[in-house]
């Protein structure tokens, strides 16, 4: 692994290297300024680079996926309003409209975020279902994972279908 030898070299460089280094610049520096200058005793430590844990990486990937699928690129370019509004003809009051009607390739910001959340929920549900089948857990934990997983997938699928039917009334007809 690349990172481990680096940390060892950094701790090794703290002590004076009397065993003979091959580095010519080190020897040059030892003679020219540092034979009469005394470097102060610092307690600095160079930061060690460690690879993040798999769960951190996975959480980042899930977050990025959520942002992409919510249509954040569309939001940045087209800058739609957060939520749409329509005026009620009879009373004149302004009613909010959540889903941009009529087009598949347009959205409001809140609409995109809620749909993206449903997709991520469905994915998390499948993962929970898979975790529930693992044998090395307590039974109560497995049951709760399984129920949560199934309910997440069902809710996510039903809500996604509902959203797409609101947006495209002619879906699957």
């Amino acid at each position: 692994m690349r990172s481990k030898p680096e940390s060892q070299t950094f701790t090794a460089s703290m002590e004076p290297l009397s065993s003979g280094s091959v580095d010519p610049i080190f020897h040059l520096l030892r003679i020219v300024p540092f034979s009469f200058l005394r470097p102060p005793k610092l307690r600095l430590k160079l930061p060690t680079l460690t690879l993040p844990s798999p769960m951190t990486v996975y959480a980042l990937v899930l977050l990025t996926y959520f942002m992409v699928v919510s249509g954040i690129v569309y939001d940045v370019i087209v800058e739609p309003p957060g939520i749409g509004s329509t005026q009620d003809r009879a009373t004149g009051s302004v009613r909010p409209v959540v889903f941009l009607p009529g087009r598949v390739n347009g959205q409001y910001i809140v609409e995109g975020l809620s749909s993206g959340f449903m997709f991520v929920l469905g994915g998390v549900g499948i993962i929970l279902m898979d975790l529930a089948l693992d044998r090395n857990r307590a039974r109560s934990v497995k049951v709760s994972y399984a129920t949560a997983g199934i309910s997440f997938v069902v809710i996510a699928y039903v809500m996604s279908m509902l959203f797409i039917r609101i947006k495209i009334p002619a879906y699957l007809s």
């Binding site: 070299t9 580095d23 249509g71 690129v73 087209v78 598949v104 959205q107 499948i126 089948l133 699957l172």
Partner: protein
């Protein structure tokens, strides 16, 4: 069932041998012509049964991928769709007629008048050469087939091949079950279908096959470390480069994959062999395509691959030195020096290359990946292409359906999720039945049976739950299949050149105006006539109308397009000057006011203004808008009401009644009555208007005689 057949075959073998002659005798007595075709009498072993199932599933998936793309061929006819495929068709026709050398050195003076276009050096030949090879092969086998049929059906054929590659890829990464699911999912995925439907003779149809093939061969090369697979992936990469400009994503994704492997500590000799062979040979082969040229060493977008190449050499060198040295402390010092030197030299080389201009910076198309708003502000012609529009959530849902749920479950390969889940669930479902089987047949395994039984007793509903979940998974997959077929049929099977709508009584009305207009151009204009239109229609006019155009879909010259945009947005006399300078004989506009067709030139007009205004500051977008709003009715801006595009679209339209109960001159696409009904043309005259007024052609009058 497969699970149950095993103990039957294993324990009752003698019985089955004896039973066969008995069962064979009775059908022979009944009838000699009807063979007894049960699997038991065929005596297939489990492995052969499994192979049969796998092969039959793959065959079904292959056929499915082909036939789901045939909607438009069945509804309309076998024709080329859209705009870009017409250029590809014209070049393939030229290739089959004149041969490869003429094709490779072709300079076309019939487009981009008066500049011309070096077609041989500015296209990706993979698609055309593939279709020509299939055509010549079929001709050699004496199938008298027209090149158009081959072109229309190339994309579905390669989509079927992609499912095979997906199967092998899934098998390589996980196991054959995942491979089968991957093949099935990719066969009907709407996102892929939209670019590879029959008639869509475009680069992506072939390129997606080449892409998946390159990835599969490279992963296989990394897993086996064999030079043969690495060279095969280099040739697949060459095919990819020859097929599509999107090969740049491959040359960046594969180094990214190698980089992730290096970071997570998976460097090995296999990786070294695979990437080196693939990079060097792939780069040399890619330079054979004239359009790509020396970009692999000169362009900033390709530098990542080179960087990773040198990084791999550094890794190998350090590994070798570590192997030679026995002193670890010495090696640490050497490691530090080498890493610093390598990074320093690399950075200096990159800096010198970019500063001296040898390495070009990222082009606008790829810079938009870093900054999505770049194209909108700086390059309107990239922003105006409909395929470059940003994606809203509903487009994702439309194109991927439940694959969106499966993606987070296992990053990037949803087939693994489905296959693993289904496998786990079927194992659980079959565990109980297996326990009872082994418990009853073999008494010696009673201890094993009892332990399994105890597990089952602790979760009595596990089997039922597993079956319920299996049914749920199958329900989701069936909904996916329904969705994909519906989307393909409704949204992605339209040829775009033939329009369809529902009539008043629910019958289907077909508008074939485009082809009517191009055929009129082909038959009623002099052969050297030059046609000016917006760049969308250039390829179609050249391919079907067989006339010279001023600008076409290649959009390689922004100033030329801006000149046309300026002409369309100016008053008639200024536009006449520009048209005389370009030798234009005919002007073609697309108008949707009578049919309600919304992709016409008036709706695209603001892009013409923006692109023209980008080069000629005399065209200003606010001149055409009223309070920031784009209108064509009485309240429209005066410049809008008198510009050339408005006049050509609405000439004689003010006398026409389009809808019952509305005044004459009612524009059905915009939903308003037009502002300027009394239009008089001074320098042009109307030559042809199609039956539904969709395409209108005007002739540019020669200058007046002075005496």
């Amino acid at each position: 069932m497969v699970g149950k057949a095993e103990p039957v075959n294993g324990s009752v073998k003698s019985g089955s041998n004896q039973s066969i002659p008995a069962t064979m005798q009775s059908p022979l007595k009944k009838s000699d012509l009807i063979p007894n075709l049960s699997l038991k009498t065929l005596k297939l072993k489990t492995k052969q049964q499994e192979l049969l199932i796998r092969v039959s599933i793959l065959c079904l998936v292959y056929v499915l991928a082909f036939i789901t793309r045939l909607f438009s061929v069945l509804r309309y006819e076998s024709m080329i769709h859209e705009f870009d495929p017409y250029f590809n068709y014209r070049t393939t026709l030229f290739l089959t007629e004149k041969g490869f050398y003429e094709f490779w050195n072709w300079f076309d003076s019939e487009s981009w008048y008066p500049l011309g276009r070096i077609i041989g050096g500015t296209l990706y030949p993979g698609l055309m050469v593939t279709a020509a090879i299939i055509y010549w092969l079929l001709r050699f086998l004496r199938f008298a087939i027209h090149i158009r049929e081959v072109c229309v059906l190339t994309a579905p054929f390669f989509a079927s091949n992609t499912t095979l590659v997906a199967y092998f890829f899934g098998k390589e990464v996980w196991d054959s079950g995942a491979g089968l699911v991957a093949a099935a999912l990719i066969a009907i995925c709407p996102g892929y279908i939209s670019r590879s439907v029959a008639g869509s003779y475009d680069n992506e149809g072939v390129a997606i096959f080449a892409l998946l093939l390159t990835f599969y061969l490279f992963v296989k090369a990394v897993n086996t470390g064999s030079l043969a697979w690495a060279l095969a992936s280099a040739f697949a990469y060459f095919y990819m480069v020859s097929a599509w400009g999107g090969y740049v994503f491959i040359i960046n994704l594969i180094p990214l994959y190698v980089l992730v492997l290096l970071i997570t500590g998976r460097y090995s000799m296999r990786l070294y062999v695979a990437y080196n062979s693939m990079y060097v040979l792939g780069m040399l082969l890619a330079m054979q395509i004239r359009f790509v040229g020396f970009q692999h060493v000169q362009s900033g977008e390709h530098m990542a691959a080179m960087g990773v190449f040198f990084l791999l050499q550094v890794f190998f060198f350090l590994d070798w030195v570590k192997h030679l040295l026995s002193d670890t402390k010495l090696f640490q010092a050497f490691l530090r020096i080498t890493v610093t030197t390598a990074i320093g030299v690399g950075a200096i080389a990159l800096g010198v290359g970019m500063a001296s201009g040898y390495i070009s910076p990222w082009t606008g198309r790829f810079y938009s990946l870093l900054d999505p708003t770049y194209a909108k502000d700086h390059i309107p012609i990239i922003a105006s292409v409909s395929e470059h529009q940003p994606t809203a959530w509903s487009s994702f849902m439309f194109d991927f359906h439940i694959l969106l749920f499966l993606f987070p479950a296992v990053c990037l390969i949803s087939a693994i999720a489905v296959s693993a889940t289904i496998k786990n669930l079927t194992l659980v479902a079959r565990a109980k039945s297996k326990v009872t089987q082994t418990g009853s047949v073999r008494g010696s395994s009673s201890s094993k049976g009892s332990s399994k039984a105890s597990l089952d007793q602790s979760q009595p509903f596990q089997r039922n739950g597993a079956i319920a979940l299996l049914l749920g998974a199958f329900y989701l997959l069936s909904k996916y299949a329904t969705h994909c077929t519906w989307v393909t049929s409704e949204a992605y099977s339209s040829p775009s050149i033939v329009l369809a709508a529902r009539g008043a009584h629910g019958n289907r009305v077909i508008f074939d105006d485009y082809r009517e207009a191009y055929f009129w151009l082909r038959k009623n204009t002099p052969p050297d006539a030059k046609v000016m239109s917006w760049w969308d229609y250039g390829y179609q006019i050249t391919a079907m109308g067989n006339r010279t155009v001023i600008v076409d879909n290649n959009t390689w010259n922004n100033t030329h397009i801006a000149t046309v945009g300026r002409a369309m947005s100016s008053y008639e006399d200024e536009a006449y000057e520009i048209m005389r300078s370009l030798d234009v004989d005919y002007v073609l506009v697309v108008f949707g006011g009578v049919t309600g067709y919304s992709s016409d030139d008036i709706n695209k007009f603001l892009w013409m203004v923006r692109i023209g205004g980008g080069v000629f500051p005399v065209i200003k977008e606010p001149d055409y808008l009223v309070n920031g709003e784009y209108r064509v009715d009485k309240g429209a801006a005066p410049k809008m009401l008198n510009c050339l595009m408005y006049k050509l679209s609405y000439y004689r339209f003010g006398e026409l009644t389009t809808e019952y109960g509305k005044p004459p001159g009612y524009d059905r696409a915009r939903g308003v009555e037009i502002g300027n009904k009394d239009i008089k043309l001074e320098y042009l005259e109307e030559a042809f208007t199609t039956s539904n007024w969709i395409v209108r052609i005007y002739k540019v009058k020669p200058p007046n005689n002075r005496w």
